[in-house]
């Protein structure tokens, strides 16, 4: 039957010619090949988000009067609604985690170097978009924690020099976090961000297809020393089947998290209530949040929070342009980037842990 379908497609669209590039595509095989799976797992989790997001859209109502109740309805009344919402919530967290892991693996294996600078840039923008998904989606259940975390988050955005106030009003749809903010975040979450992200994923994948997968310089050097031949495997079906195994394992982890630790809903947001103690953002913003908390209110004559925001903004831009800062073949700049990567990873991890332990 499968052969029949293939023949049918072949007669009409020259299927064999269409699939030829896929058949020709190969993936390098070496001791660090397993890092190649991270990008695919992130893509798989994005797919899960799209599917579960569409299912949630069938019942979710984006207004401050109905959002909380509609999510509660999904979790208690809709058949398997709890599973869909839990998977959506957990997959979001896992996707951000795997996206960060993917970024650091690319950095440490130096896969960003020429000619893959634009692959890195598109990947970094995708990472920022994924964090934007997290920030906008967090508010949608309209519960107390999400409400005040969004208030704090948009307050921080309001501190950006020159454009801060306008940016905050744009994000909130007014001076305060209200139902208008919810509607706006819903729009970002289900239309603006998915549209841009899908386009950028296509660009990212096209660049990978065009430039192939990078072999780490350390592996190449070892092969040269040992005079070994480079080993490769076909992308289709060999690598894809292995990727499929990784996706299945990710699905198992996701299912276990959703069933054993379903995401709670908390209490409905009350804009007139005072903020509860211990308000903090999702874990992926914690390192920034904790840093801003630790910076003194005034540093010399400047506002401490503004300095923090400017530093993070500058770090984000420099990080995105990292491949252009590495001078080709110069060991010093390579070591500098490696050192910065280790420092960034240690800083983010320690600040996140500190943020959760600090009262």
């Amino acid at each position: 039957m499968l052969a029949g379908v293939r023949k049918w497609l072949d007669e009409r669209f020259d299927w064999a010619a269409l699939m030829a590039p896929l058949r020709k595509k190969t993936v390098p095989v070496h001791k660090l090949s397993y890092w190649y799976f991270l990008g695919g797992i992130t893509l798989f989790l994005f797919g899960i988000q799209v599917c579960t997001g569409i299912l949630l859209l069938l019942y979710y109502r984006p207004s401050s009067n109905e959002a909380f109740e509609s999510v509660q309805y999904i979790m208690t009344r809709v058949p398997f609604g709890w599973l869909v919402r839990s998977i959506h919530s957990w997959a979001a967290n896992l996707m951000i985690f795997t996206a960060f892991c993917h970024m650091f693996s690319v950095l440490f294996l130096r896969a960003y170097r020429k000619p893959r600078e634009l692959t890195w840039v598109s990947g970094m923008i995708l990472l920022f978009l994924v964090m934007g998904f997290g920030f906008s989606g967090y508010l949608l259940p309209w519960n107390t924690l999400a409400f005040f975390a969004t208030k704090v988050g948009t307050d921080i955005a309001g501190q950006v020099p020159l454009i801060g106030k306008s940016l905050m009003i744009f994000l909130r749809g007014g001076e305060e976090v209200t139902g208008a903010t919810l509607t706006r975040f819903f729009g970002f979450h289900v239309a603006v961000l998915p549209g841009i992200t899908t386009l950028l994923i296509l660009v990212h994948l096209a660049l990978i297809q065009r430039l192939g997968m990078s072999v780490p310089p350390s592996v190449e050097a070892q092969r040269t020393v040992r005079s070994e031949q480079s080993r490769e495997m076909h992308f289709f079906p060999n690598f894809l089947l292995r990727e499929l195994m990784a996706w299945y394992i990710a699905l198992g982890v996701l299912g276990a998290l959703a069933a054993l630790s379903p995401r709670g809903l908390g209490t409905k947001a009350d804009p007139f209530a005072s903020a509860p103690a211990g308000i903090r953002p999702e874990w992926y913003f914690m390192f920034m949040f904790q840093t801003l908390k630790l910076i003194p209110a005034k540093v010399w004559r400047l506002d401490g929070e503004v300095i923090g925001i400017l530093l993070f903004g500058a770090a984000g831009v420099i990080w995105t342009l990292l491949p252009f800062l590495e001078r080709n073949g110069k060991g010093r700049s390579q070591r500098w980037i490696l050192g910065a990567g280790i420092f960034a990873l240690a800083y983010m991890a320690s600040m996140t842990v500190y943020g959760y332990l600090a009262k």
């Binding site: 292995r242 699905l251 379903p262």
Partner: protein
């Protein structure tokens, strides 16, 4: 010629004007000469500038002369001369009347605070303190004993001796002093009892300023112990429903006949502990068995009421426990938790309705609570069942996933073996 005359006039006028100006400045800087001396004296005659500046009277523009007479704008003995109207030290017996000169004058007090009461002196005359003072007892409290003198603060100031948080301590200065109270034939353990009470905990520990302190039950300026027949009126100012139920209960007439003070008979007066269910029934801590003995109708009613309350308490606890377990397992039971609040309210209501001392009346509230607790317990059990169902589903899904992963691994090995 004219010019030199002018210069001479200026030379004479300038020192004169300067002297007048300095005198005026010196007068403006020192309008209250009393403090010049009294701040340097030893207690009890000492009144410092800092102390007096805190005083509410000083802040409202009154001076030492407002109470003591004299002329503080003059120095030394001129300020304290009879000619200047100086009255000297005010005797304790004269303090209430002196304060009342202003504080009983509503027209005068209106300029400072139109809502300020002006019946303090009238009330004081009806108080035990006022009555004893009228009989010549110099040791009873007068205004300054509770409110202070020279550094008097408004009652709303937390540092004031009459702020709700400090009143008990202020009363205790005399009433907990056995030596001072000797001769009055009243106990001196009220403060110790109050400090161990649920009322003190609410006020001092939880900071609930509406919780009762000494003056809430005894009155402030008209302070007197409530009589045996009226004590429930005092308690009922806050505990309205309990009092209403007691009024229509068989205990009302029985207590009156036995000259027992209503609420105090079971709950004590100053040492009012947090009431527990152990006070009901016929157990060792029961207060019912203080009067009722085995076999009488009251004894049976007490046992029945205790059983009713215990039944509801157990049902509510069981429902709470199962809902908490479901919630900690991540199940969405917020609606049931909300209903559970109503079950707890019914338990509280039942504990209030025991003051009817009528098992049939208590059963009405108990039944409402049991119905809600039964429903929420069912919802908790259903949530736990759902949790187990999910876990079984997860186990089956994981088995299927493991099987697929193994299958894929074998398939990959097969095609790679074949191609190599």
């Amino acid at each position: 010629m004219d010019t030199s005359r002018n210069k001479c006039a200026v030379r004479l006028l300038f020192p004169l004007l300067a002297t007048l100006l300095l005198g005026a400045v010196a007068h403006a800087q020192n309008p209250n000469s009393c403090l010049d001396c009294h701040s340097a004296l030893d207690p009890p005659d000492q009144v410092t500038e800092e102390q007096f500046s805190r005083d509410i009277h000083a802040q409202k523009g009154l001076t030492c002369a407002s109470c003591h007479g004299g002329d503080p704008s003059k120095n030394d003995q001129d300020a304290m001369s009879k000619k200047a109207g100086f009255g000297g030290k005010i005797e304790r017996k004269d303090v209430p009347a002196l304060c009342a000169r202003c504080h009983s004058d509503s027209a005068y007090m209106r300029q400072y605070n139109p809502s300020l009461r002006t019946d303090q002196f009238a009330q004081y005359l009806t108080s035990v303190h006022g009555k004893l003072r009228a009989k010549g007892d110099e040791r009873v409290a007068v205004c300054t004993d509770c409110h202070g003198v020279h550094d008097l603060l408004p009652a709303s100031d937390t540092r004031s001796k009459v702020h709700p948080l400090n009143i008990a301590q202020t009363c205790a200065r005399c009433h907990a002093d056995a030596a001072y109270m000797k001769g009055y034939s009243i106990p001196t353990d009220q403060f110790a009892g109050y400090r161990a009470s649920v009322h003190h905990e609410a006020l001092a520990v939880r900071g609930d300023l509406s919780a009762p302190t000494c003056t809430t039950c005894h009155g402030d300026h008209g302070a007197a112990p409530p009589g045996v027949s009226t004590v429930q009126n005092v308690c009922s100012t806050c505990h309205v429903f309990q009092a209403q139920l007691f009024e229509s209960s068989p205990h009302k007439a029985a207590f009156a006949a036995a000259s027992l003070p209503g609420c105090v008979t079971c709950h004590s007066n100053h040492r009012i502990a947090h009431p527990t269910d152990a006070m009901l029934g016929t157990g060792p801590q029961s207060v019912c068995t203080n009067c009722h003995t085995e076999g009488d109708a009251g004894y049976q009613a007490a046992a029945q009421i205790a059983q009713q309350i215990d039944h509801l308490d157990t049902s509510v606890k069981n429902a709470t426990e199962i809902l908490d377990r479901a919630e900690s397992a991540g199940m969405e039971v917020s609606d049931a938790q909300l209903e559970q609040d109503q079950a707890r309210d019914s338990l509280t209501k039942s504990r209030v309705s025991i003051h009817s001392f009528n098992p049939t009346r208590v059963q009405q509230d108990v039944d409402t609570g049991l119905q809600i607790a039964g429903k929420t317990h069912g919802e908790g059990a259903a949530a736990l069942q759902e949790r187990d169902y999910r876990r079984k589903g997860l186990a089956l899904s994981l088995l299927a996933i493991v099987a697929v992963v193994i299958g894929l691994r074998l398939y990959v090995r097969q095609i790679e073996t074949r191609s190599s």
